[in-house]
């Protein structure tokens, strides 16, 4: 991790330092360094947790039957053996959660409202990715085009459709409710979420008469090709694609929010709508753009999620959506940096539980979703401002 600051200081000392280099440092190297730092923090804390749990539970706990592992299994050895894969899994899904979480956190930052429908926007992204892939296959293009072009087409289409969908949702279901008591838009958002689920379901029923939408990834050998990272640790190209695209999007969003005029205006709106509008900022436009950007990111995350799990249905949105919301809350809702940290932490936690739970006969994978809800509840109860959030007192 020390490499990044060193590089930075080296760059700053360099005589070649000019505007472009500074720009590159500010909006490219620094955010990437930060993301990697978060990945390392999340990874090392989960590794420590996993090792500690493995160490503590390898001895037989006669007192607590639920925590007992079958005698022939040495839990600590298993943990050590699985750790690299666990970390890789955690980072992959963590980046997907981070990208979804951005949508929640941006909208919350601007409107102070939980966009419950964001999970369905995410689901729509996965469905759009499926449609693009199927259409390419039907046009005999899927195996002809370079895989990277396929990915770009899928993500691009998903971003367009989902960005537009998020804007439509905002216009139809949220905008008329601005200024209403806080629960009113939340209930409307729950309604949108349910509506979109079945809307997409009905659409695909009419379109193809299907419910399950398996990605035809096996038609592109590139996706499944394995690369060896180290001895005993290999991964697929898909995993790398997910990680790299997520990082590109995170860096892009960072640039958008911090360096562009619109991004600054959005930040101003999230600080104080009235003042921002007095300064000549078109608040409604900024809110629309926020939804558009959040929706586009959600859609892209949907494609990545679809590539990872390869089976998509109209009902896949709820659980990842809730986990991404948990990630946003964990990092500090309204805080973009926090969403990335929260997403990575949550992804790691999920990988940790999925890896460990099967060893306990009394538990099993059925419980793997409980952790996300538990984290959500614990954070909201004990630190509602999240890891990176600030405390706000109500004025009496």
């Amino acid at each position: 991790m020390t490499a990044v600051p060193n590089l930075a200081s080296a760059l700053s000392r360099s005589r070649l330092l000019n505007g472009a280099a500074e720009w590159f440092l500010q909006y490219f190297l620094k955010p990437i360094g930060q993301i990697l730092l978060f990945a390392v923090i999340a990874g090392s804390s989960i590794s420590l947790l996993a090792l500690a749990v493995g160490f503590v539970l390898q001895t037989d706990w006669h007192g607590i039957d639920i925590l007992r592992v079958p005698a022939r299994i040495n839990l600590f050895e298993q943990v050590v053996r699985q750790l690299p894969n666990m970390l890789l899994d955690g980072i992959t899904i963590g980046f997907v959660y981070a990208v979804i979480a951005l949508g929640y956190t941006m909208v919350y930052g601007v409107l102070k409202f939980i966009n419950f429908a964001h999970s369905e926007i995410f689901m729509m992204g996965a469905v759009v990715g499926y449609e693009v892939m199927i259409r390419l296959r039907d046009g005999q293009l899927l195996s002809e085009l370079p895989p990277l072009v396929v990915i770009i087409l899928m993500i691009g289409a998903a971003m367009l459709v989902c960005g537009a969908a998020a804007v439509v949702v905002e216009r139809v279901a949220y905008k008329p409710l601005r200024g209403a008591p806080r629960l009113v838009p939340l209930i409307s958002a729950i309604g949108v979420s349910f509506f979109l689920t079945d809307f997409v379901r009905a659409f695909q029923a009419l379109n193809r008469n299907i419910f399950n939408m398996p990605y035809p990834t096996d038609l592109v050998p590139f996706f499944g090709a394995r690369i060896n990272i180290a001895e005993g640790l290999s991964t697929t190209n898909t995993t790398l694609i997910i990680i790299i695209s997520a990082i590109i999007m995170l860096v892009g969003l960072n640039y958008f929010v911090n360096a562009t005029k619109i991004g600054k205006a959005i930040r101003a709106v999230s600080q104080d709508q009235a003042t921002a509008s007095l300064m000549g900022i078109n608040v409604n436009l900024m809110i629309t753009i926020t939804f558009m950007v959040g929706g586009a990111l959600g859609g892209a995350a949907g494609v990545l999620y679809g590539l990872k799990t390869t089976n998509v249905t109209p009902y896949i949105g709820f659980i990842p959506g809730l986990k991404a919301f948990t990630a946003a809350v964990l990092g500090g809702i309204g805080n973009i940096t926090g969403a990335v940290l929260g997403g990575l932490l949550l992804g790691m936690l999920e990988a940790f539980f999925s890896a460990l739970l099967p060893y306990f006969p009394a538990l099993g994978l059925g419980y793997s979703d409980i952790f996300a809800f538990a984290v959500l509840i614990l954070v909201l109860l004990f630190r509602p401002t999240g890891l990176l959030g600030k405390k706000v007192d109500e004025k009496v």
């Binding site: 955010p31 039957d65 639920i66 409202f113 939980i114 279901a173 409710l177 209403a180 629960l183 939340l186 209930i187 409307s188 729950i190 309604g191 949108v192 349910f194 509506f195 979109l196 689920t197 079945d198 009905a202 009419l206 008469n209 299907i210 419910f211 929010v257 911090n258 005029k261 619109i262 600054k264 205006a265 930040r267 101003a268 709508q273 009235a274 509008s277 007095l278 300064m279 000549g280 078109n282 608040v283 409604n284 709820f318 919301f325 973009i336 940096t337 990335v340 006969p361 009394a362 538990l363 099993g364 419980y367 979703d369 809800f373 538990a374 509840i377 909201l380 109860l381 109500e394 009496v396």
Partner: protein, 520 residues
Amino acid sequence: MATQSLLQERASRLNWREALPTIFAILYVLIVFSLLRSLNRADLWFPTYSSILFPLFVFSPFIIFALKIPFALRAVLIAIIGLVLMPILGMQDSFYLELITQIAIFAAMAIGLNVVVGFAGLLDLGYVAFFAVGAYLWGIFTSNANTIVRISGAQAAPELFWLFLFLGVIAAAITGILLGLPVLRLRGDYLAIVTLGFGEIIRILVSNLSNISSNRRNPINITNGAQGLPGILSPPLPDFMFQAVESLTNSLGLPVNNVRAFTYQLFYYGLVLIVCALSALIAARLDNSPIGRAWTAIREDEVAAQAMGVPKVKMKLLAFALGASFAGAMGVIFAARNTFVSPESFSFIQSIFILAVVIVGGMGSIRGAIFGAAIVTLLNLQVLKNFSLQINALRNIDWVVPIIDFPIRNWPQQLEPARYERLVFGLLLIVMMIFRPSGLLPAKRRQLELQGERAERISEKELTADVAEIRPEDLLSAPAAIGEAKEAKAANAADIAEDLPADQPPTPGEGLPDEPKEKP
């Protein structure tokens, strides 16, 4: 004396013109009822007819209730509909009885949720968990699944149903308090999300607690997991009830195939009606008491309520416990009536279903909860289902839609209306929030009887004039007022600025805070 003469005067004025709506309402009920009676299940269009006529019939008590006639008369008319006409319809087609029982179950739960959401303003998205507590309490103790209870021989006798109904109330209330305790500090959307999390955790637990032992050969099964609990028992009914029902159906010329099953249906129908009526009575009385006022005060302004001496913790926990207890009672009844429960009956969508009932009816409104239950349940269990049935029936005869020439066999198999309940609830929630956030039958503020006269309403104009007027001398003497005035002006200006056309490019450079909040 004066009131007596007043009554006499009113009675004499009750002429035919005033009786007209009543007559129409009674005619309406009779017509709908006889049309329903004349329906034939074998008819090709039966699903469509029945899903139009039965809702019309279900709405008839509400129409009667809205009449401006003495309460006793309305009560008698509604009782005739509920206790005479409805059972007769049930003899003809027991599905009607099933539907109305479901409506009453959801109405009681909606009333319970109303206590939490409507009265106390605590949005609970995991309400169905309390329903699950009641249902699983009775289910675990009487199911024929191989649960720990059955293996250890601790099963409950069916006679204990009434005890368990009571225990279900208690257990749900305790769960309500246990879930309520940690979330006391949370408000609004965070509370909603946490309750959602709790509800999901309970569902996950219920679907996984089929083995809590490390020994795979000797599993400790509590809930029978995702398969659910089959063979749940009903309470025994005395023999004379079966005989009475049999002779009654025979004498009416409507013999039913299975007297036993039908008697149970009638029994559950009566039971849920009683529980529903009790829930409504309890909720209404609580609302109109110091407790209800304290709940509303907490909903409106927690800080002020506490400062006025309202014990926040106690009142919130009371709301959670009471709201949960209604669902607990209904859970026990639901398990016994259904003879089968599984984790699927307690998923998030069920919580949203009950929330939709409350929203459609009107938050805080008890009549609304019952009305909303009728609408939402009928939409879900009758209209959507019958739509599917109708399509299947038409598909079987290879029917073609006239005019547009659409052969119904081309209707996609995946587009089965019965499965699209989310679409309906979702639309209902959105439409209600945008156009009628207070519901179809909104809660009314109680008007208390005073000796004095009721003052007329202040017009909107007068009101704004009064607030906006800040005199210069006040500004001089009260620095605080300057702040207020400035704020008001700023808010005004902001409103105006927001209304400006969007063609102005944003000029963010000037108005930005120096320290950006987010720096990824």
